[in-house]
């Protein structure tokens, strides 16, 4: 088995969906998470606060430096993530499809290095 990272690709400066739309999405995401748990594929999942809430820490000359904000501003940011366990890419992509339908944003599926116990 392998671990795969499902990243939610969120456009920067995009409009938040209307509350009732958002509510539907949240419900679908909950169903998706439940399905992952039942299949034994669940490892971890969560939504992230906006990049403006981030702080970057860098080691410099034996000291550490803090900067307010994200490391790099991009056209997209990581809006949330989900780590799953799957036997191969086909299985991981099936979860990716379900995630994309639930969240309605692009999902990047990326393998972790190495293997995990089945």
């Amino acid at each position: 088995m392998k671990h795969y990272l499902l990243s939610v690709i969120t456009p920067t400066g995009g409009e938040m969906p209307a509350p009732e739309v958002l509510e539907g999405i949240m419900r679908n995401v909950e169903v998706f998470h439940e399905e992952l748990r039942e299949a034994g594929a669940w490892v971890f999942a969560g939504g992230l606060n906006a990049p403006s809430t981030a702080t970057v820490v860098q080691a410099k000359d034996g000291d550490t430096l803090l900067t307010d904000g994200p490391y790099a501003e991009g056209k997209e940011y990581l809006g949330g993530l989900c780590i799953i366990k799957a036997p191969d890419l086909d299985a991981a992509l099936d979860w990716g499809r379900k995630a994309a339908r639930a969240i309605t944003l692009p999902i990047e599926v990326r393998p972790f290095e190495g293997e995990v116990e089945g």
Binding site: K2, P87, D88, L89, D90, L93, R110, P111
Partner: protein, 428 residues
């Protein structure tokens, strides 16, 4: 070469040369026919494409070394696979003892596979698995094409670079990246489940047709290598038709390629200029290929599960049936295009259909259809439009349209053809 399997891309198919004439030919032929099968068997045995490729290449080098004195073994293909498997196991044992984790895993997989009863049936299945892996939709089309030609056809990086007009390091990088993704993302090595099969077959067929068209269009570069691409695509088409006898579209694609290949030599005139269908010397068509293609089309018709490749093959079969251009059954071609437009409602199909409309209903009706198509960037759109305008006696507009077509193709032969047409326009 030690440890080269850890450096993906290091293994290069080397077509053996230098043996006595008869044997070089034997080994060359065996290489063409058996490279893909051997790699496919070894990938299943070791779960690693680089290990498989390298072992198979070593086996061919050993064959060339040994066979001139020892003679051909009774089953050369089996000999290659057995030798490759032994070579790979020897190497992996050495590397596993140095605590190489990947070597250990590959060794363990090969021992597992060796102890399994032969439940897999014919080795054919391995090549089918390999094709589906190479054409996995998680790989870019360019990577799918390169991997398929490399692993199933044994084309070297230099040959691939030459055929696709990219620098060799670019092609090498493309192969390394694709093989790395298969390994690291664990793209499975199997024939997809029934539910996914239609989609996945479509992407395999698209790759094979792309290889064929790349060879057929001869946009530039070495002509010989390009013709090799057509031959390779047809070889893959035959293999797929053999491995998936129940997929009518597979048969349809093979028929389409054979019928279009049958006109290859007739497509260029003595001066190398491109000749359209209507101007080709039909005695130069390859009637053996036509017979084979038409037989496949008839099989498809009996199946009655039409798809885009089968319909395109049927359209080509109608052209092949006509002893002269004037005898072409355009009514039937138009009916087939109507059907194709339902199955594949694209602008390009609509454009091709308009060409048939011009023959059945006249250039006026066809031009009205063409003018509605948003295909400004496609040179054929302008070429078709130019031809219709020419037939309607609107020479000035036709000239402008020919210019637009010339500006939108890189293909020298097509440019020459279009310029010739433009020069032949009557002066206003």
């Amino acid at each position: 070469m030690s440890g080269a399997s850890r450096h993906p891309g290091a293994a290069e198919p080397r077509r053996p040369t230098g043996a006595p004439a008869v044997l070089t030919a034997d080994v060359e032929r065996l290489f063409r026919e058996e490279y893909g099968r051997s790699v496919a068997v070894l990938v299943r045995a070791f779960g690693d494409i680089d290990i498989a490729e390298e072992a198979v290449q070593e086996a061919f080098v050993t064959a060339l070394d040994r066979w001139p004195s020892a003679g051909l073994p009774p089953a050369p293909a089996g000999w290659i696979i057995t030798t490759a498997r032994n070579r790979a196991i020897d190497r992996l044992r050495r590397e596993a003892s140095r605590a190489d984790r990947q070597a250990r895993a590959a060794l363990a997989q090969s021992l597992d596979a060796g102890s399994e009863p032969a439940e897999e049936g014919p080795v054919h299945d391995d090549r089918l698995r390999l094709i589906f892996t190479c054409c996995h939709p998680a790989l870019s089309t360019g990577a799918q094409v390169a991997l398929t030609l490399r692993l199933l056809g044994g084309l070297s990086t230099a040959e691939l670079a030459h055929a696709f007009l990219v620098p060799e390091p670019t092609m090498a990088q493309r192969l390394v990246r694709a093989k790395g993704k298969i390994r690291d993302a664990r793209i499975p090595y199997r024939v997809p489940a029934d539910a996914d099969l239609p989609d996945r077959v479509r992407s395999v067929l698209a790759v094979v047709y792309l290889i064929f068209n790349e060879g057929h269009t001869a946009s530039s570069g070495d002509r010989l290598v390009r013709e090799d691409l057509c031959a390779e695509a047809i070889r893959l088409g035959r293999l797929l038709a053999d491995l998936m006898p129940d997929e009518p579209e597979v048969r349809g694609l093979l028929a389409l390629m054979l019928l279009s290949e049958s006109r290859r030599t007739a497509r260029t005139g003595p001066d190398g200029a491109l000749l359209p269908l209507a101007e080709q010397d039909r005695s130069r068509w390859d009637h053996e290929l036509i017979a084979e293609g038409q037989a496949l089309v008839r099989q498809c018709l009996r199946r009655d599960r039409p798809g885009p490749y089968q319909i395109q093959a049927a359209i080509n079969a109608v052209h092949s049936d006509a002893p002269t251009a004037a005898a072409t059954d355009w009514g039937q071609i138009l009916r087939l295009y109507d059907q194709l437009l339902v199955q594949a409602p694209t602008l390009v199909v609509a454009l091709n259909r308009a060409v048939a409309v011009a023959e059945v209903e006249g250039p006026d009706a066809a031009l009205a259809l063409v003018e509605q198509l948003a295909l400004d960037r496609y040179h054929v759109f302008h070429a078709v439009r130019a031809d219709l305008l020419r037939r309607l006696g609107r020479a000035a507009e036709a000239a402008t349209a020919y210019d637009a077509a010339v500006a939108r193709t890189q293909n020298a032969a097509e440019q020459e053809f279009l310029r010739r047409r433009r020069r032949a326009l009557p002066a206003d």
